[in-house]
Symmetry: C2
Subunit: 437 residues, 2 copies
């Protein structure tokens, strides 16, 4: 059969990785796909810049619309990033009847509903496996592998930079700022690390995962998003003493009232596999009603792991080129006419357990006051750690693990705890999930 | 669109689970697949037997060929097990132009080449996700999710019964026979546990995984297969002291000379995620040249986890009903005309590291003799553990970890070590892999 012609928009890290993988494994890929997958064009901003791949086999251009409008190109691979020009490029490719593969999580999380609607109209496939979890193929796992399940919940380490920082803080005793500098030096974190450490990148990815898990439209603006920049060495040490590790999780869960969508640091039992996913690695725990817990682990970023997902999408698209559009895997797992209107819950409605740390005046009766505040609000205590140093100190930390309770109640509790005369400064609150995998 | 009609052959554990999942999640499944998936017929040996599912919605028969020959049935789901009658049923369904979903690993491992050839000829799909790793969807992950990769190696805990026994021996200090009795009482192990504990079940599964990873024909008879019945509490304790856990692994690896295919107990570094996969859970570590290590974890058996994979296959088949057979995912990942003729290596050609345990006469010079034997054969020692008890004993155990070496050399070394005058009894040899995930 004829080769399939690919135009790649963007030859940065992932673009170059994709070119390299397609070239190095050309034979195996063609033996799987049944057709040669050939890059014929690529779009770059600066044609004279040195690239991490051989560019001799295809044509370079600086205008992405030369590719979207080129009738010889079958599939446009969007690897430029950003969500303004990238959106125009993808929409134009779709309008021209081309199929699209993209690694752009922001694009899908923010404009996905509109993009998929247009793709549906034009019979185009838009594949986005590389947008979440790099090479893990978590989109395929949820959308196809677990298609028989009612998904109960998912919890993922879906930002490698954040996990690198937390792992370093946990293993090496460093503070956040040191590990961030370290991550920046290694190229894991950008000069402006906001997207990674404040959870925005993870929220983009969680938006996508939740949509395919529950059949709800993409709703990035409804994700509760909290980063890891306030996590301290002190909290990591206390958590460890109590048998937990702190991970930055994206969590989606189905409840009777609606869907929870939240990104925040979270204490996880040390024995859980998820607690032992270290460094830049990613992992997503998915609980289905039939299958039970499943864990999907691998490199969440980097040139070739991401390229692995891009190429898998290309093979899928090539195989489906001749299919009836009505019988393809739906973009968001559920048929467009069969999406769910389950509401996304506000964070105040979410029920979870908590780790609290207070600094209190060291005098009798303090603990009684604290436990009375929690008790009056119906919050049950799971464990208390009072760090007596043996020597008389004015101020002591008290660590409390609570049982599951509603966030709005915990908000009230924190206000009251802060206002106690014996509480010094702020009260630290980190959520806790008794994850069993 | 019209419903798709399913005939299920076998209403045992997995059959009943499949009926229950299809019924309970009918709405979500139809919203994903775009069509209703409806069980219209089921085959049982004894129509009067109590079943773990509601059988009121379909017709029961005792003759599987009533289903394979019924023109109203679109897909035959083979869940009867065994490889004689099951083969006839599957071949007849294919000959009648029906699609097949099966959970039968023995059938695929032993007769898969013939079955897929016939399926190819008749334009039928034969889906077998449930044959390996229960609900993990490892077939899909390797065949589609990692389609851009050259697979370097895979190592899996793919028999839940064996893992349950080894986990119990490791955590609870029991011996093999006690844990086996325990597993039998809980229904994890059969009255005749040979298939599970001697590695035959794992070898069936490894055969399938290796074929889709490397594009080689199914070659069950070439798998080196060693069980766990000779693993002792003593070896588990020594391994732990040296930082390892003993797991029963199925390993496939690509070398310059060919493909390694082997099932055997194996020391794995304690920190590896794979070492922490406990109880009846399964996990497969797959290394691709682009993606690096990926781990796929979940329930490897049981009614509903297996049903999860069966239903996912049904959804895949339903979606592909209208496709051109030439553009479907190939049964064994690679196009039938593009399979590889890479040879499967004999176990003597395999290179791995080793754990050795000898009981020796407690006198000076013994260690020198042992290390001379290994040194003369070019086998490097990684670690030695000599358990001096402090009190004078006649016989002491010596534990040696070697670096990687070829199995044929180790066979010679074992012969020579056994023949030393100072060696008492047999020499224990367990393979060791420095797995990093």
């Amino acid at each position: 059969m004829n080769p399939v012609n690919i135009g790649i928009v963007g030859l940065g890290t992932v673009g170059a990785g994709t070119v390299n993988v397609l070239r190095r494994n050309a034979d195996e890929i063609a033996r799987r796909a049944g057709r040669e997958i050939r890059v014929t064009h690529a779009v770059v901003q600066d044609p004279d810049k040195q690239r991490d791949c051989d560019i001799s086999a295809f044509e370079l251009t600086t205008d992405p619309f030369e590719i979207t409008d080129n009738p010889s190109i079958d599939v446009v691979v969007e690897l430029m990033g950003g969500e303004v020009l990238a959106k125009d490029v993808v929409m134009r490719a779709i309008a021209n009847g081309k199929h699209v593969v993209t690694a752009n999580k922001a694009l899908i999380a923010i404009h996905g509903n509109e993009i998929f609607e247009s793709a549906q109209l034009h019979g185009s496939m838009v594949a986005f496996e590389a947008a979440v979890g790099g090479g893990i193929s978590i989109i395929k796992a949820i959308r196809e592998g677990l298609a028989g399940n009612r998904i109960e919940s998912l919890a993922g380490i879906i930002n490698g930079t954040g996990n690198y920082i937390l792992t370093g803080m946990s293993d090496g005793g460093s503070e956040f700022s040191d590990m961030l500098a370290d991550a920046q030096q290694l190229g894991y974190a950008e000069a402006d690390p906001t997207f990674d450490v404040e959870g925005i990148d993870a929220a983009h990815k969680l938006t996508i995962l939740a949509s395919i898990a529950y059949g709800i439209p993409l709703q990035f603006d409804k994700v509760y998003t909290e980063g890891i920049s306030h996590i301290t060495q002190e909290d990591i040490v206390h958590a460890a003493e109590l048998g937990y590790r702190i991970k930055h999780l994206g969590i989606a869960a189905r409840t009777n009232a609606g869907i929870e969508l939240r990104v925040h640091p979270c204490l996880v039992p040390q024995r859980a596999l998820l607690a032992n996913v270290d460094g830049v690695m990613n992992a997503i725990l998915v609980n289905g009603d039939a299958v039970g817990p499943t864990l999907h682990y691998g490199s969440g970023a980097g040139a070739e792991p991401t390229a692995s997902a891009v190429v898998a999408d290309l093979v899928d698209v090539v195989r489906a080129l001749t299919t009836d559009p009505g019988n393809r895997v739906p973009h968001l797992a559920f048929q467009p006419g069969a999406m769910s209107d389950l509401p996304v819950l506000d964070m105040e409605q979410v029920e979870t357990a908590y780790y609290l740390r207070l600094n209190v005046v060291n005098r009798p009766g303090v603990l009684a006051e604290i436990t009375r505040v929690l008790g009056d609000l119906g919050i049950s205590i799971e464990a208390i750690l009072q760090k007596g140093s043996g020597v008389a100190e004015d101020v002591l930390p008290i660590i409390i693990l609570t049982q599951r309770t509603v966030e709005s109640g915990m908000d009230k509790a924190l206000e009251q705890l802060k206002s106690l005369a014996t509480t010094i400064g702020d009260v630290t609150r980190i959520r806790l999930e008794q994850i069993t995998d």
